[in-house]
C-alpha cells in the first residue's frame, strides 16, 4: 500500500521547510548538479538538511501507511470465505508488513531510528495514508482495496522508482512488483464475485461505492493547493503531479470497471474527446482534510490499535534484549 502524504505535511497547515541559505554553497552546487543530471543520492553523500527532512517525512509516512494498512484488510482474514482466499489475504497483509520493513530501513539510512519514527506515528504527529481510516465492511472490500488502493499506489510509486534518493528508489522497485501482484489478485477476486450470486455482486458494488472517491483523494490535493510539490519535483522526489497521476488512474480504471461490470459512483464521469481524458466530479476535500487531521471514521481505532500492539509487545522486545545481553556477558566471561 502507500501514502498520499507526498504533499501532506505532518503538521497540516504549517509551512514546509525551505532550503536554508546556511548550507555550504559548494556542496549545495554539487548536490544540485547531481540532481540536475538525474543522478542518485546515496546515504553517505552530502545532502541539504531540508532534503533529508523531506525524505524522512515522506518515507516514514509511507512506512506507517504500510503498517496501518495491514489493519483494514487484516479485519477479514479470520472470515475469508475460502481457504485459498484466506491464504492470499494473509500473504498480502504480510507483504505490506514487509514493505513497511524496507521503508523503515530506507529511512534509517537518513539517520532516523525506527523507534523515533514509530514515536511520531504513535503520538499522532506523523501522518499515514487517509485511505486506511475508512472501515472494511464486507468481504469485497478486500478485493476492491487490492484493485483500487494498490492500483493507486502503483500509479504513485512507479515514478518513485526513479526517485533521486537511492535507497528509497530501490525499495520502491521491489514494492511496486508486489503491489502490482496485489492489484491483479484483488481484481481477479472481484471478477469471480461478479460472476457469482446477486449477493456477491451487491457486495462488490457496495465496496466500490464506498471506496472510489477515497481512492481519488489518495493522490493528494489538487496541484494548485500543493505547496510541497514544486520543491519535491525540483529534488527528484516527486516526478509527476497529483492531478496528472489522478487522471492517469481514472483513465486506466474506467475500462477495468466496465469489464468487471461495476458502476463507478460518479455521474460526471465521462470521456472527453477533446482532452482525450475522462472528466470527473468534485472530490470532497473538506472530508479528506477532516480525515487527514485525525477526524475520519476510523482514525482513532487504527492509531489506538497500533499503539496497543506496540505497548503490549514491550515485554517481548525487552526479553529479546535482555537475553542478548546475557548471552554477550556469558561470551565475555568465557573469553576472559
Amino acid at each position: 500500500m502507500y501514502t498520499q502524504s507526498f504533499s501532506v505535511p505532518d503538521n497540516a497547515g504549517q509551512k514546509s521547510a525551505r532550503t536554508p541559505s546556511t548550507e555550504n554553497p559548494e556542496l549545495m552546487a554539487a548536490f544540485d548538479a547531481r540532481i540536475d543530471a538525474d543522478g542518485r543520492i546515496e546515504p553517505q553523500d552530502w545532502m541539504p538538511e531540508a532534503y533529508r527532512k523531506t525524505l524522512v517525512r515522506q518515507i516514514s509516512q509511507h512506512a506507517h501507511s504500510e503498517i496501518v494498512g495491514m489493519l483494514p484488510e487484516g479485519n477479514w482474514i479470520s472470515r475469508a470465505p475460502s481457504l485459498k482466499r484466506k491464504a492470499i489475504l494473509i500473504a498480502k497483509v504480510q507483504d505490506e508488513g514487509g514493505h513497511g520493513l524496507y521503508l523503515y530501513s530506507a529511512a534509517e539510512t537518513l539517520g532516523t531510528s525506527r523507534d523515533q519514527m514509530l514515536e511520531g506515528l504513535h503520538s499522532g504527529k506523523a501522518k499515514y495514508s487517509s485511505i486506511f481510516n475508512y472501515p472494511t465492511l464486507n468481504w469485497a472490500d478486500v478485493g476492491v482495496i487490492g484493485w483500487l488502493v494498490d492500483g493507486a499506489a502503483i500509479m504513485n510509486q512507479i515514478p518513485l522508482c526513479r526517485c533521486s534518493y537511492g535507497p528509497y528508489a530501490r525499495a520502491m522497485v521491489r514494492v511496486c512488483k508486489e503491489e502490482s501482484f496485489h492489484q491483479r489478485q484483488g481484481y481477479e477476486a472481484l471478477l469471480v464475485m461478479m460472476q457469482g450470486t446477486e449477493a456477491q455482486r451487491a457486495m462488490v458494488q457496495d465496496a466500490v461505492n464506498r471506496l472510489w472517491w477515497k481512492c481519488l483523494a489518495m493522490f493528494g490535493p489538487p496541484d494548485a493547493d500543493s505547496p510541497n510539490s514544486a520543491q519535491g519535483m525540483r529534488w527528484g522526489i516527486k516526478r509527476i503531479s497529483n492531478d496528472e497521476l489522478r487522471q492517469k488512474f481514472i483513465d486506466a480504471t474506467v475500462p477495468q470497471a466496465k469489464v468487471l461490470g461495476v458502476t463507478l459512483p460518479d455521474p460526471d464521469l465521462k470521456w472527453n474527446e477533446e482532452r482525450q481524458h475522462h472528466d470527473y466530479g468534485q472530490i470532497d476535500w473538506q472530508e479528506f482534510w477532516n480525515t487527514v487531521e485525525g477526524n475520519g471514521p476510523c482514525n482513532k481505532e487504527r492509531l489506538a490499535t497500533r499503539v496497543k500492539a506496540h505497548n503490549d509487545g514491550q515485554w517481548v522486545r525487552d526479553a529479546a534484549l535482555a537475553y542478548t545481553r546475557k548471552q554477550q556477558q556469558r561470551a565475555q566471561k568465557e573469553a576472559a
Binding site: 495491514m70 500473504a91 497483509v93 504480510q94 450470486t197 500492539a309
Partner: protein
C-alpha cells in the same frame, strides 16, 4: 446446509481406498490413509493457522508480525493440501472448502490445544488480551510433535500423504526453531518474560497429554500402514521439550487428571467460537464461489 458427517467420510474412505486423481496415484495394493486421519491432520493445521493469523497486524514487533504470518500461511497451506487429498479421495462434490467450512465443531478432529485462545485458562466467552508467551509456547509444544510426525509420514506408503509430509516437514522445522528460539528468550530474558512463559507452560502442558492416546482414526491409520503410532514419538518429543525447557530455565509442569479429547471430536468451549467466525461468511452464501 449439509454438513459432512465423519461417519460418512469413514465409509467413503473404504470405497475410496484406490484413489483416483492426484499427482501421484497410488499403485494397486498400496495404502491410502483413512480419511478421518487426513482430516485430523488438516483440522490441526487449519485451526492453528486460524489462531496464529489473529496476530496479523498486532505483533510485538514488525519482524514477528511477518514471521507469525509465515507460520500461519504454512499451516493454511498444509490444511489445503490435506483437505484436497481427502476431498479427492471422497469424490463427488466434496471440496477442500466443504471440509473446512461446512463441518461442525463436533466433526473437527484437531487437538484441543490448538483451538485455545492466546491467553491463560478462561471460559469460552471471556475476553482477554492476547499473550505472545501463550502463542509461542503452544507453537513450540505442537511444533516439536509435528516435526516427528512429518518425519515419520514422509516415509508413509501412502505416496500422496508422504509428499505432503515432506513439504510440511521443512515448514515444521522452521516453526519449531522459531518457537524454541523465542521460548528460550522468554525463559532466560526478563523476570516478566520468564513468569509469562512459565505461566503459559503451566496452562498448556496438560493439553499435550492428548497427543499420546491414539484416536480411532490414528489406530486405523497405523493398522493400514499409512500412519504413525504417536506413542512411538513420545520419547523423542520429551527429549526436544526437556532440552529446550532446560535452556530456557523453565520448569516442566507435572500433569495429572483430565486428558482433553479434541481429536475425538469432543472439544473445549473455544472451538465453536473459532469456527463460527471462520465459517460464518462462507455458510451465509452456500454454493457461492469465491
Amino acid at each position: 446446509m449439509s454438513a459432512i458427517q465423519p461417519s460418512v467420510a469413514q465409509d467413503r474412505s473404504k470405497q475410496a481406498s484406490a484413489p483416483v486423481g492426484g499427482s501421484a496415484p497410488n499403485a494397486v495394493g498400496s495404502v491410502g490413509a483413512p480419511i478421518d486421519y487426513l482430516l485430523h491432520l488438516a483440522d490441526n493445521a487449519v485451526v492453528l493457522g486460524q489462531r496464529n493469523a489473529e496476530w496479523c497486524g498486532h505483533g510485538p514487533i514488525l519482524e514477528e508480525d511477518i514471521a507469525m504470518g509465515n507460520v500461519s500461511l504454512d499451516y493454511i497451506g498444509q490444511a489445503r493440501l490435506l483437505y484436497q487429498l481427502a476431498a479427492t479421495r471422497l469424490g463427488g462434490d466434496v471440496t477442500e472448502d466443504k471440509l473446512a467450512y461446512f463441518r461442525d465443531d463436533t466433526q473437527f478432529r484437531n487437538y484441543t490445544l490448538l483451538e485455545l485462545p492466546h491467553n491463560g485458562p478462561l471460559v469460552g466467552y471471556a475476553v482477554s488480551n492476547r499473550d505472545y508467551a501463550t502463542t509461542i509456547t503452544r507453537n513450540f509444544l505442537y511444533g516439536a510433535l509435528m516435526v516427528l510426525v512429518w518425519e515419520a509420514l514422509e516415509k508413509s506408503p501412502d505416496a500422496d500423504l508422504a509428499a505432503i509430509a515432506a513439504k510440511s516437514l521443512k515448514e515444521a522445522r522452521y516453526h519449531l526453531h522459531h518457537a524454541a528460539d523465542w521460548l528460550v528468550r522468554f525463559g532466560d530474558g526478563t523476570d516478566e518474560s520468564h513468569q509469562r512463559a512459565q505461566a503459559a507452560l503451566d496452562h498448556l502442558f496438560a493439553y499435550t497429554e492428548e497427543f499420546w492416546t491414539p484416536s480411532a482414526a490414528e489406530e486405523a491409520a497405523v493398522a493400514s500402514g499409512a500412519g504413525v503410532d504417536v506413542r512411538s514419538l513420545r520419547a523423542a518429543w520429551d527429549g526436544i521439550v526437556n532440552d529446550t525447557l532446560t535452556e530456557a530455565t523453565l520448569v516442566r509442569p507435572e500433569v495429572r487428571g483430565y486428558v482433553t479429547e479434541g481429536k475425538h471430536g469432543r472439544h473445549s468451549e473455544h472451538l465453536s467460537y473459532l469456527l463460527g467466525e471462520m465459517q460464518g461468511l462462507a455458510r451465509a452464501h452456500p454454493g457461492a464461489t469465491w
